[in-house]
Assembly symmetry: C2
Homo-oligomer: 287 residues x 2
Protein backbone atom coordinates (compact mmCIF):
# COMPACT_ATOMS: atom_id res chain seq x y z
CA UNK A 1 0.00 0.00 0.00
CA UNK A 2 1.31 3.44 -0.93
CA UNK A 3 1.51 6.16 1.69
CA UNK A 4 -0.03 8.65 -0.72
CA UNK A 5 -1.66 8.45 -4.11
CA UNK A 6 -1.50 11.82 -5.82
CA UNK A 7 -4.02 12.29 -8.62
CA UNK A 8 -2.96 14.90 -11.15
CA UNK A 9 0.46 15.70 -12.62
CA UNK A 10 0.26 19.49 -12.93
CA UNK A 11 1.92 22.08 -10.67
CA UNK A 12 0.04 21.14 -7.49
CA UNK A 13 0.29 17.37 -7.90
CA UNK A 14 3.91 17.27 -9.02
CA UNK A 15 5.02 19.84 -6.42
CA UNK A 16 3.33 17.81 -3.67
CA UNK A 17 4.90 14.57 -4.96
CA UNK A 18 8.35 16.12 -4.90
CA UNK A 19 7.95 17.21 -1.28
CA UNK A 20 6.36 13.88 -0.28
CA UNK A 21 9.11 11.87 -1.92
CA UNK A 22 11.76 13.96 -0.22
CA UNK A 23 10.11 13.32 3.11
CA UNK A 24 10.64 9.63 2.32
CA UNK A 25 7.02 8.59 1.89
CA UNK A 26 5.97 6.04 -0.74
CA UNK A 27 4.25 8.24 -3.35
CA UNK A 28 2.41 7.20 -6.48
CA UNK A 29 1.39 9.92 -8.91
CA UNK A 30 -1.39 9.06 -11.36
CA UNK A 31 -2.03 11.45 -14.21
CA UNK A 32 -4.16 11.41 -17.32
CA UNK A 33 -2.81 14.32 -19.35
CA UNK A 34 -1.07 17.67 -18.91
CA UNK A 35 -4.23 19.44 -17.80
CA UNK A 36 -5.20 23.00 -18.65
CA UNK A 37 -1.53 24.02 -19.01
CA UNK A 38 -1.23 21.76 -22.04
CA UNK A 39 -3.00 24.44 -24.05
CA UNK A 40 -1.34 27.42 -22.42
CA UNK A 41 1.24 28.78 -24.82
CA UNK A 42 2.99 31.63 -23.02
CA UNK A 43 3.71 31.60 -19.33
CA UNK A 44 5.58 34.67 -18.10
CA UNK A 45 4.49 35.11 -14.54
CA UNK A 46 5.74 32.00 -12.80
CA UNK A 47 8.91 33.08 -11.01
CA UNK A 48 12.30 31.68 -11.99
CA UNK A 49 12.24 31.56 -15.78
CA UNK A 50 14.03 34.30 -17.66
CA UNK A 51 12.29 33.30 -20.92
CA UNK A 52 8.64 32.76 -21.75
CA UNK A 53 7.66 29.17 -21.08
CA UNK A 54 5.28 26.89 -22.89
CA UNK A 55 2.71 25.35 -20.54
CA UNK A 56 3.09 21.78 -21.66
CA UNK A 57 6.89 22.03 -21.61
CA UNK A 58 6.73 23.33 -18.03
CA UNK A 59 4.48 20.46 -16.92
CA UNK A 60 6.87 17.97 -18.53
CA UNK A 61 9.83 19.56 -16.73
CA UNK A 62 7.93 19.30 -13.44
CA UNK A 63 7.25 15.61 -14.05
CA UNK A 64 10.87 14.95 -15.01
CA UNK A 65 11.86 16.64 -11.77
CA UNK A 66 9.50 14.41 -9.78
CA UNK A 67 10.78 11.32 -11.62
CA UNK A 68 14.41 12.28 -11.01
CA UNK A 69 13.71 12.52 -7.29
CA UNK A 70 12.15 9.05 -7.30
CA UNK A 71 8.39 9.59 -7.64
CA UNK A 72 6.57 6.70 -9.39
CA UNK A 73 4.36 8.06 -12.17
CA UNK A 74 1.55 6.22 -13.97
CA UNK A 75 -0.16 7.71 -17.01
CA UNK A 76 -3.60 6.22 -16.41
CA UNK A 77 -7.11 7.51 -16.13
CA UNK A 78 -8.68 7.35 -12.69
CA UNK A 79 -12.24 6.00 -12.86
CA UNK A 80 -13.11 5.62 -9.23
CA UNK A 81 -11.80 6.28 -5.73
CA UNK A 82 -13.25 4.54 -2.72
CA UNK A 83 -12.56 4.91 0.93
CA UNK A 84 -12.50 1.77 3.05
CA UNK A 85 -15.94 1.39 4.61
CA UNK A 86 -14.66 -0.18 7.80
CA UNK A 87 -12.72 2.84 8.87
CA UNK A 88 -9.32 1.51 7.85
CA UNK A 89 -6.88 4.12 6.60
CA UNK A 90 -7.16 2.85 3.06
CA UNK A 91 -8.29 4.30 -0.24
CA UNK A 92 -8.74 2.19 -3.36
CA UNK A 93 -8.05 3.99 -6.63
CA UNK A 94 -9.31 2.27 -9.77
CA UNK A 95 -7.84 3.37 -13.10
CA UNK A 96 -8.47 2.19 -16.66
CA UNK A 97 -5.58 -0.26 -16.18
CA UNK A 98 -5.05 -1.13 -12.52
CA UNK A 99 -6.24 -0.80 -8.96
CA UNK A 100 -4.03 0.86 -6.36
CA UNK A 101 -4.23 1.27 -2.61
CA UNK A 102 -3.08 4.23 -0.59
CA UNK A 103 -3.26 5.35 3.03
CA UNK A 104 -4.14 8.83 1.77
CA UNK A 105 -5.19 10.46 -1.49
CA UNK A 106 -4.33 13.93 -2.72
CA UNK A 107 -6.67 15.31 -5.37
CA UNK A 108 -4.84 17.75 -7.62
CA UNK A 109 -6.63 17.49 -10.92
CA UNK A 110 -7.14 21.16 -11.61
CA UNK A 111 -10.29 23.14 -11.96
CA UNK A 112 -13.43 21.28 -12.67
CA UNK A 113 -14.37 21.62 -16.32
CA UNK A 114 -17.43 23.69 -17.15
CA UNK A 115 -20.65 21.77 -17.24
CA UNK A 116 -23.53 22.13 -19.65
CA UNK A 117 -23.77 25.72 -20.75
CA UNK A 118 -27.45 25.86 -21.54
CA UNK A 119 -30.42 27.82 -20.30
CA UNK A 120 -31.92 26.30 -17.18
CA UNK A 121 -28.81 24.35 -16.16
CA UNK A 122 -27.91 26.53 -13.21
CA UNK A 123 -31.54 26.99 -12.21
CA UNK A 124 -32.24 23.27 -11.92
CA UNK A 125 -28.91 22.20 -10.42
CA UNK A 126 -29.93 20.60 -7.15
CA UNK A 127 -33.53 20.63 -8.35
CA UNK A 128 -33.36 17.40 -10.32
CA UNK A 129 -29.94 17.96 -11.89
CA UNK A 130 -27.37 15.84 -10.04
CA UNK A 131 -23.66 15.03 -10.40
CA UNK A 132 -23.62 11.78 -8.47
CA UNK A 133 -25.70 8.65 -9.13
CA UNK A 134 -24.54 6.99 -5.93
CA UNK A 135 -25.54 10.04 -3.90
CA UNK A 136 -28.93 10.83 -5.46
CA UNK A 137 -29.99 7.87 -7.65
CA UNK A 138 -32.22 6.27 -5.01
CA UNK A 139 -34.46 9.35 -4.93
CA UNK A 140 -35.65 8.56 -8.45
CA UNK A 141 -36.75 4.94 -8.05
CA UNK A 142 -38.89 3.99 -11.05
CA UNK A 143 -38.78 7.52 -12.41
CA UNK A 144 -37.68 8.86 -15.79
CA UNK A 145 -33.97 9.60 -15.64
CA UNK A 146 -31.69 11.28 -18.16
CA UNK A 147 -27.92 10.86 -17.99
CA UNK A 148 -25.55 13.14 -19.91
CA UNK A 149 -22.22 11.74 -21.09
CA UNK A 150 -20.49 9.70 -23.75
CA UNK A 151 -17.60 7.85 -22.09
CA UNK A 152 -16.75 5.26 -19.45
CA UNK A 153 -17.68 7.67 -16.68
CA UNK A 154 -21.24 7.89 -18.03
CA UNK A 155 -21.57 4.11 -18.33
CA UNK A 156 -20.49 3.70 -14.69
CA UNK A 157 -23.15 6.16 -13.63
CA UNK A 158 -25.62 4.35 -15.87
CA UNK A 159 -24.87 1.07 -14.13
CA UNK A 160 -25.55 2.61 -10.74
CA UNK A 161 -28.76 4.26 -11.95
CA UNK A 162 -30.01 1.00 -13.49
CA UNK A 163 -30.49 -0.30 -9.95
CA UNK A 164 -33.21 2.27 -9.45
CA UNK A 165 -35.08 2.50 -12.73
CA UNK A 166 -35.13 1.08 -16.23
CA UNK A 167 -36.50 4.28 -17.80
CA UNK A 168 -33.18 5.93 -18.63
CA UNK A 169 -32.26 8.07 -21.63
CA UNK A 170 -28.64 8.82 -22.48
CA UNK A 171 -27.86 12.28 -23.82
CA UNK A 172 -24.51 12.45 -25.61
CA UNK A 173 -24.89 16.23 -26.14
CA UNK A 174 -23.64 15.72 -29.70
CA UNK A 175 -20.43 13.94 -28.58
CA UNK A 176 -19.42 10.58 -29.97
CA UNK A 177 -20.60 7.66 -27.84
CA UNK A 178 -17.48 5.59 -27.03
CA UNK A 179 -19.03 2.93 -24.78
CA UNK A 180 -21.58 0.20 -25.24
CA UNK A 181 -24.86 1.09 -23.51
CA UNK A 182 -26.90 -1.99 -24.46
CA UNK A 183 -30.59 -1.33 -25.05
CA UNK A 184 -30.84 2.07 -23.42
CA UNK A 185 -32.36 4.90 -25.42
CA UNK A 186 -29.74 7.31 -26.73
CA UNK A 187 -30.32 10.90 -27.83
CA UNK A 188 -27.43 12.15 -29.97
CA UNK A 189 -28.65 15.73 -30.33
CA UNK A 190 -27.11 18.82 -28.76
CA UNK A 191 -28.89 19.87 -25.57
CA UNK A 192 -30.27 23.39 -25.95
CA UNK A 193 -32.31 23.97 -22.81
CA UNK A 194 -33.44 22.51 -19.49
CA UNK A 195 -37.02 23.23 -18.46
CA UNK A 196 -39.14 22.66 -15.38
CA UNK A 197 -41.39 24.21 -12.76
CA UNK A 198 -40.27 23.80 -9.15
CA UNK A 199 -38.02 20.99 -10.36
CA UNK A 200 -36.72 19.86 -13.75
CA UNK A 201 -39.19 18.18 -16.07
CA UNK A 202 -37.82 18.49 -19.62
CA UNK A 203 -34.58 18.26 -21.58
CA UNK A 204 -34.78 20.07 -24.93
CA UNK A 205 -32.37 19.09 -27.69
CA UNK A 206 -31.98 20.59 -31.13
CA UNK A 207 -34.42 17.98 -32.52
CA UNK A 208 -36.67 16.91 -29.73
CA UNK A 209 -38.13 17.31 -26.26
CA UNK A 210 -37.73 14.67 -23.54
CA UNK A 211 -39.65 14.40 -20.28
CA UNK A 212 -37.40 13.64 -17.30
CA UNK A 213 -37.71 13.61 -13.51
CA UNK A 214 -33.96 13.89 -13.05
CA UNK A 215 -30.84 14.54 -15.10
CA UNK A 216 -27.46 13.10 -14.05
CA UNK A 217 -24.36 14.80 -15.44
CA UNK A 218 -21.40 12.49 -16.21
CA UNK A 219 -19.72 14.27 -19.09
CA UNK A 220 -16.22 13.41 -20.28
CA UNK A 221 -14.06 11.92 -17.55
CA UNK A 222 -14.65 12.38 -13.83
CA UNK A 223 -13.05 15.44 -12.27
CA UNK A 224 -11.63 15.77 -8.79
CA UNK A 225 -14.96 17.24 -7.79
CA UNK A 226 -16.77 14.15 -9.03
CA UNK A 227 -14.56 11.85 -6.95
CA UNK A 228 -14.78 14.10 -3.95
CA UNK A 229 -18.56 14.32 -4.20
CA UNK A 230 -18.90 10.53 -4.41
CA UNK A 231 -16.92 10.13 -1.22
CA UNK A 232 -19.08 12.68 0.57
CA UNK A 233 -16.64 15.60 0.52
CA UNK A 234 -18.04 19.09 0.81
CA UNK A 235 -17.98 21.14 -2.39
CA UNK A 236 -18.66 24.86 -2.36
CA UNK A 237 -19.26 26.76 -5.60
CA UNK A 238 -17.47 24.08 -7.60
CA UNK A 239 -14.44 24.09 -5.26
CA UNK A 240 -13.46 21.24 -2.95
CA UNK A 241 -13.52 22.57 0.60
CA UNK A 242 -10.35 21.89 2.62
CA UNK A 243 -9.08 22.93 6.04
CA UNK A 244 -5.79 24.71 6.70
CA UNK A 245 -4.02 21.34 6.36
CA UNK A 246 -5.51 20.84 2.87
CA UNK A 247 -7.65 17.97 4.18
CA UNK A 248 -11.29 17.65 3.11
CA UNK A 249 -13.99 16.63 5.57
CA UNK A 250 -13.12 13.02 4.58
CA UNK A 251 -10.28 11.87 6.82
CA UNK A 252 -7.18 11.14 4.73
CA UNK A 253 -8.53 12.78 1.58
CA UNK A 254 -6.56 15.92 0.71
CA UNK A 255 -6.87 18.41 -2.15
CA UNK A 256 -4.60 21.11 -3.60
CA UNK A 257 -4.34 23.48 -6.54
CA UNK A 258 -7.09 24.87 -8.74
CA UNK A 259 -9.64 22.28 -7.57
CA UNK A 260 -9.84 23.99 -4.16
CA UNK A 261 -10.36 27.43 -5.72
CA UNK A 262 -8.58 30.65 -4.85
CA UNK A 263 -6.08 32.23 -7.21
CA UNK A 264 -5.93 30.08 -10.34
CA UNK A 265 -2.21 30.57 -10.90
CA UNK A 266 0.75 28.19 -11.12
CA UNK A 267 2.44 29.94 -8.18
CA UNK A 268 -0.50 29.24 -5.92
CA UNK A 269 -0.90 25.64 -7.08
CA UNK A 270 2.80 24.90 -6.48
CA UNK A 271 2.62 26.43 -3.02
CA UNK A 272 -0.57 24.46 -2.28
CA UNK A 273 1.27 21.30 -3.25
CA UNK A 274 4.13 22.02 -0.86
CA UNK A 275 1.77 22.83 2.01
CA UNK A 276 -0.43 19.77 1.38
CA UNK A 277 2.64 17.52 1.24
CA UNK A 278 3.88 18.68 4.63
CA UNK A 279 0.45 18.13 6.15
CA UNK A 280 0.15 14.65 4.57
CA UNK A 281 3.59 13.71 5.81
CA UNK A 282 2.59 14.63 9.36
CA UNK A 283 -0.72 12.82 8.98
CA UNK A 284 0.76 9.58 7.60
CA UNK A 285 3.49 9.45 10.23
CA UNK A 286 0.89 9.76 12.98
CA UNK A 287 -1.21 6.81 11.67
CA UNK B 1 5.75 58.78 -7.67
CA UNK B 2 5.77 55.01 -8.20
CA UNK B 3 2.63 52.99 -7.60
CA UNK B 4 4.61 50.40 -5.67
CA UNK B 5 8.12 50.16 -4.33
CA UNK B 6 9.05 46.52 -3.79
CA UNK B 7 11.93 45.97 -1.40
CA UNK B 8 13.72 42.68 -1.95
CA UNK B 9 14.60 40.85 -5.17
CA UNK B 10 14.12 37.22 -4.12
CA UNK B 11 11.21 34.91 -4.97
CA UNK B 12 8.51 36.96 -3.19
CA UNK B 13 9.68 40.39 -4.35
CA UNK B 14 10.40 39.44 -7.95
CA UNK B 15 7.22 37.38 -8.28
CA UNK B 16 5.16 40.29 -6.95
CA UNK B 17 6.94 42.73 -9.30
CA UNK B 18 6.17 40.53 -12.29
CA UNK B 19 2.47 40.44 -11.44
CA UNK B 20 2.39 44.15 -10.62
CA UNK B 21 4.11 45.10 -13.85
CA UNK B 22 1.75 42.93 -15.84
CA UNK B 23 -1.19 44.67 -14.20
CA UNK B 24 0.30 47.90 -15.62
CA UNK B 25 1.34 49.55 -12.37
CA UNK B 26 4.54 51.58 -12.09
CA UNK B 27 6.80 49.26 -10.08
CA UNK B 28 10.25 49.92 -8.70
CA UNK B 29 12.14 46.99 -7.21
CA UNK B 30 15.01 47.82 -4.86
CA UNK B 31 17.36 45.04 -3.83
CA UNK B 32 20.62 44.81 -1.95
CA UNK B 33 21.81 41.28 -2.69
CA UNK B 34 20.49 37.84 -3.57
CA UNK B 35 19.38 37.09 -0.03
CA UNK B 36 19.53 33.73 1.69
CA UNK B 37 19.27 31.89 -1.65
CA UNK B 38 22.67 33.26 -2.62
CA UNK B 39 24.22 30.65 -0.40
CA UNK B 40 21.82 27.82 -1.23
CA UNK B 41 23.57 25.42 -3.55
CA UNK B 42 21.04 22.76 -4.47
CA UNK B 43 17.38 23.49 -4.99
CA UNK B 44 15.34 20.47 -6.00
CA UNK B 45 11.88 21.09 -4.65
CA UNK B 46 10.74 24.20 -6.49
CA UNK B 47 8.43 22.91 -9.22
CA UNK B 48 9.31 23.29 -12.89
CA UNK B 49 13.02 22.52 -13.06
CA UNK B 50 14.07 19.11 -14.28
CA UNK B 51 17.63 19.67 -12.99
CA UNK B 52 18.95 20.77 -9.63
CA UNK B 53 19.17 24.55 -9.47
CA UNK B 54 21.67 26.80 -7.80
CA UNK B 55 20.00 29.36 -5.52
CA UNK B 56 21.80 32.40 -6.81
CA UNK B 57 21.29 31.36 -10.43
CA UNK B 58 17.57 31.00 -9.76
CA UNK B 59 17.34 34.45 -8.18
CA UNK B 60 19.17 35.94 -11.18
CA UNK B 61 16.78 34.20 -13.58
CA UNK B 62 13.84 35.63 -11.62
CA UNK B 63 15.30 39.13 -11.84
CA UNK B 64 15.98 38.75 -15.57
CA UNK B 65 12.37 37.69 -15.95
CA UNK B 66 11.16 40.77 -14.08
CA UNK B 67 13.46 43.00 -16.13
CA UNK B 68 12.28 41.46 -19.40
CA UNK B 69 8.69 42.25 -18.45
CA UNK B 70 9.60 45.87 -17.75
CA UNK B 71 10.23 46.08 -14.00
CA UNK B 72 12.74 48.81 -13.02
CA UNK B 73 15.38 47.36 -10.72
CA UNK B 74 17.83 49.27 -8.52
CA UNK B 75 20.66 47.56 -6.68
CA UNK B 76 20.76 49.84 -3.68
CA UNK B 77 20.59 49.45 0.05
CA UNK B 78 17.46 50.74 1.73
CA UNK B 79 18.29 52.75 4.85
CA UNK B 80 14.93 54.14 5.81
CA UNK B 81 11.25 54.03 4.91
CA UNK B 82 8.86 56.70 6.08
CA UNK B 83 5.16 57.03 5.71
CA UNK B 84 3.74 60.49 5.04
CA UNK B 85 2.70 61.97 8.36
CA UNK B 86 -0.19 63.91 6.91
CA UNK B 87 -2.11 60.86 5.81
CA UNK B 88 -1.18 61.17 2.15
CA UNK B 89 -0.80 57.88 0.33
CA UNK B 90 2.92 58.32 0.13
CA UNK B 91 5.96 56.43 1.36
CA UNK B 92 9.50 57.80 1.13
CA UNK B 93 12.22 55.19 0.68
CA UNK B 94 15.75 56.37 1.33
CA UNK B 95 18.61 54.24 -0.04
CA UNK B 96 22.37 54.65 0.10
CA UNK B 97 22.12 56.48 -3.25
CA UNK B 98 18.69 58.04 -3.77
CA UNK B 99 15.30 58.82 -2.33
CA UNK B 100 12.18 57.37 -3.94
CA UNK B 101 8.47 57.88 -3.42
CA UNK B 102 5.75 55.29 -3.75
CA UNK B 103 2.02 55.10 -3.08
CA UNK B 104 2.59 51.70 -1.49
CA UNK B 105 5.54 49.62 -0.29
CA UNK B 106 5.90 45.86 -0.38
CA UNK B 107 8.43 44.43 2.07
CA UNK B 108 9.90 41.19 0.73
CA UNK B 109 13.35 41.05 2.23
CA UNK B 110 13.28 37.52 3.54
CA UNK B 111 13.57 36.25 7.05
CA UNK B 112 15.00 38.55 9.61
CA UNK B 113 18.56 37.62 10.41
CA UNK B 114 19.28 36.13 13.81
CA UNK B 115 20.19 38.65 16.45
CA UNK B 116 22.79 38.39 19.17
CA UNK B 117 23.17 34.77 20.19
CA UNK B 118 24.30 35.27 23.74
CA UNK B 119 23.03 34.32 27.16
CA UNK B 120 20.44 36.79 28.44
CA UNK B 121 19.50 38.18 25.02
CA UNK B 122 16.09 36.60 24.84
CA UNK B 123 15.41 37.17 28.52
CA UNK B 124 15.98 40.93 28.34
CA UNK B 125 14.39 41.56 24.96
CA UNK B 126 11.64 44.05 25.75
CA UNK B 127 13.22 44.51 29.18
CA UNK B 128 15.77 47.10 28.14
CA UNK B 129 16.80 45.47 24.86
CA UNK B 130 15.15 47.36 22.00
CA UNK B 131 15.26 47.24 18.19
CA UNK B 132 14.05 50.74 17.49
CA UNK B 133 15.56 54.02 18.72
CA UNK B 134 12.67 56.06 17.41
CA UNK B 135 10.17 53.84 19.24
CA UNK B 136 11.89 53.49 22.60
CA UNK B 137 14.76 56.03 22.82
CA UNK B 138 12.77 58.63 24.75
CA UNK B 139 12.31 56.18 27.64
CA UNK B 140 16.03 56.42 28.41
CA UNK B 141 16.49 60.19 28.66
CA UNK B 142 19.85 60.90 30.35
CA UNK B 143 20.42 57.18 30.97
CA UNK B 144 23.33 54.91 30.02
CA UNK B 145 22.61 53.45 26.59
CA UNK B 146 24.46 50.78 24.62
CA UNK B 147 23.98 50.40 20.90
CA UNK B 148 25.12 47.30 19.02
CA UNK B 149 26.21 47.63 15.40
CA UNK B 150 29.01 48.59 13.06
CA UNK B 151 27.46 50.10 9.93
CA UNK B 152 25.34 52.97 8.65
CA UNK B 153 22.26 51.50 10.30
CA UNK B 154 23.90 51.75 13.71
CA UNK B 155 25.01 55.35 13.13
CA UNK B 156 21.45 56.33 12.20
CA UNK B 157 20.17 54.81 15.43
CA UNK B 158 23.00 56.56 17.26
CA UNK B 159 21.90 59.92 15.85
CA UNK B 160 18.37 59.35 17.10
CA UNK B 161 19.56 58.20 20.52
CA UNK B 162 21.87 61.21 20.88
CA UNK B 163 18.75 63.37 21.25
CA UNK B 164 18.03 61.64 24.53
CA UNK B 165 21.37 61.07 26.19
CA UNK B 166 25.08 61.66 25.73
CA UNK B 167 26.09 58.54 27.68
CA UNK B 168 26.19 56.09 24.80
CA UNK B 169 28.58 53.16 24.25
CA UNK B 170 28.85 51.50 20.86
CA UNK B 171 29.36 47.74 20.82
CA UNK B 172 30.72 46.45 17.51
CA UNK B 173 30.47 42.83 18.74
CA UNK B 174 33.91 42.24 17.18
CA UNK B 175 32.82 43.50 13.74
CA UNK B 176 34.76 46.14 11.86
CA UNK B 177 33.42 49.66 12.45
CA UNK B 178 32.71 51.13 9.01
CA UNK B 179 31.25 54.49 10.04
CA UNK B 180 32.54 57.56 11.82
CA UNK B 181 31.04 57.81 15.31
CA UNK B 182 32.82 60.95 16.50
CA UNK B 183 33.66 61.00 20.19
CA UNK B 184 31.40 58.19 21.34
CA UNK B 185 32.92 55.37 23.37
CA UNK B 186 33.43 52.22 21.32
CA UNK B 187 33.82 48.69 22.66
CA UNK B 188 35.34 46.40 20.02
CA UNK B 189 35.06 43.16 22.00
CA UNK B 190 32.74 40.24 21.33
CA UNK B 191 29.62 40.34 23.50
CA UNK B 192 29.40 37.22 25.65
CA UNK B 193 26.44 37.82 27.95
CA UNK B 194 23.65 40.19 28.90
CA UNK B 195 22.89 40.53 32.58
CA UNK B 196 20.24 42.23 34.69
CA UNK B 197 17.60 41.84 37.40
CA UNK B 198 14.08 42.81 36.42
CA UNK B 199 15.56 44.71 33.51
CA UNK B 200 18.94 44.74 31.79
CA UNK B 201 21.82 46.33 33.67
CA UNK B 202 25.06 44.94 32.19
CA UNK B 203 26.67 44.03 28.89
CA UNK B 204 29.56 41.58 29.31
CA UNK B 205 32.21 41.37 26.58
CA UNK B 206 35.23 39.10 26.37
CA UNK B 207 37.36 41.80 28.03
CA UNK B 208 35.09 43.93 30.13
CA UNK B 209 31.80 44.64 31.85
CA UNK B 210 29.65 47.66 30.99
CA UNK B 211 26.75 49.08 32.98
CA UNK B 212 23.76 49.99 30.78
CA UNK B 213 20.12 50.93 31.28
CA UNK B 214 19.22 49.95 27.75
CA UNK B 215 20.72 48.20 24.75
CA UNK B 216 19.64 49.08 21.19
CA UNK B 217 20.30 46.48 18.51
CA UNK B 218 21.20 47.85 15.06
CA UNK B 219 23.45 45.14 13.67
CA UNK B 220 24.37 44.91 10.00
CA UNK B 221 21.80 46.45 7.72
CA UNK B 222 18.16 46.99 8.65
CA UNK B 223 15.82 44.11 7.89
CA UNK B 224 12.20 44.29 6.79
CA UNK B 225 11.29 43.84 10.44
CA UNK B 226 13.36 46.87 11.39
CA UNK B 227 11.56 49.06 8.83
CA UNK B 228 8.19 47.66 9.76
CA UNK B 229 8.81 48.23 13.45
CA UNK B 230 9.85 51.84 12.87
CA UNK B 231 6.60 52.53 11.03
CA UNK B 232 4.59 50.97 13.84
CA UNK B 233 3.75 47.68 12.16
CA UNK B 234 2.87 44.73 14.34
CA UNK B 235 5.53 42.03 14.59
CA UNK B 236 4.79 38.65 16.13
CA UNK B 237 7.59 36.20 16.95
CA UNK B 238 9.90 37.91 14.48
CA UNK B 239 7.31 37.80 11.68
CA UNK B 240 5.56 40.82 10.19
CA UNK B 241 1.83 40.41 10.76
CA UNK B 242 -0.34 40.84 7.64
CA UNK B 243 -4.01 40.37 6.85
CA UNK B 244 -5.39 38.12 4.10
CA UNK B 245 -4.53 40.86 1.57
CA UNK B 246 -0.89 40.86 2.72
CA UNK B 247 -1.30 44.36 4.19
CA UNK B 248 0.20 45.18 7.57
CA UNK B 249 -1.66 47.31 10.10
CA UNK B 250 -0.04 50.30 8.36
CA UNK B 251 -2.29 51.32 5.47
CA UNK B 252 -0.44 50.85 2.17
CA UNK B 253 2.43 48.85 3.68
CA UNK B 254 2.40 45.24 2.45
CA UNK B 255 4.67 42.28 3.17
CA UNK B 256 5.25 38.91 1.52
CA UNK B 257 7.56 35.91 1.66
CA UNK B 258 9.69 34.66 4.53
CA UNK B 259 9.40 37.94 6.46
CA UNK B 260 5.75 37.16 7.24
CA UNK B 261 6.59 33.65 8.45
CA UNK B 262 4.85 30.40 7.56
CA UNK B 263 6.52 27.83 5.33
CA UNK B 264 10.03 29.09 4.53
CA UNK B 265 10.03 27.69 1.00
CA UNK B 266 10.44 29.27 -2.44
CA UNK B 267 7.04 27.93 -3.52
CA UNK B 268 5.30 29.76 -0.70
CA UNK B 269 7.25 33.00 -1.21
CA UNK B 270 6.44 33.04 -4.94
CA UNK B 271 2.76 32.43 -4.21
CA UNK B 272 2.81 35.15 -1.54
CA UNK B 273 4.23 37.54 -4.12
CA UNK B 274 1.43 36.81 -6.58
CA UNK B 275 -1.25 37.20 -3.94
CA UNK B 276 0.24 40.43 -2.56
CA UNK B 277 0.52 41.87 -6.08
CA UNK B 278 -3.14 41.28 -6.82
CA UNK B 279 -4.13 42.90 -3.53
CA UNK B 280 -1.83 45.89 -4.13
CA UNK B 281 -3.20 46.34 -7.64
CA UNK B 282 -6.74 46.53 -6.26
CA UNK B 283 -5.63 48.85 -3.47
CA UNK B 284 -3.75 51.29 -5.73
CA UNK B 285 -6.56 51.43 -8.28
CA UNK B 286 -9.02 52.34 -5.54
CA UNK B 287 -6.91 55.29 -4.25
Amino acid sequence: MHDVIVIGGGPAGASASIYLQRSKLDVLLIMKDHGTLEKTGHIDNYWGFSDTMDGKELVIKGLEQAKRLGVQIKEEEVLDIEKDLFGEHKFTVKTDKETYEGKTVLLATGQSKPNLRVKGFKEYTGKGISFCAICDGFIYRNKKIGVVGNKKFMSEELETLSNFTKDITIFTDANELTVDVGDYKVCHGKITEIKGDEVINQVITENNTYDVDALFIAMGTPSANDFALRMGAIIDKNNIVVDDKHMTNIEGLFAAGDCIGGLLQIAKAVSDGAHAALAINKYVRAL
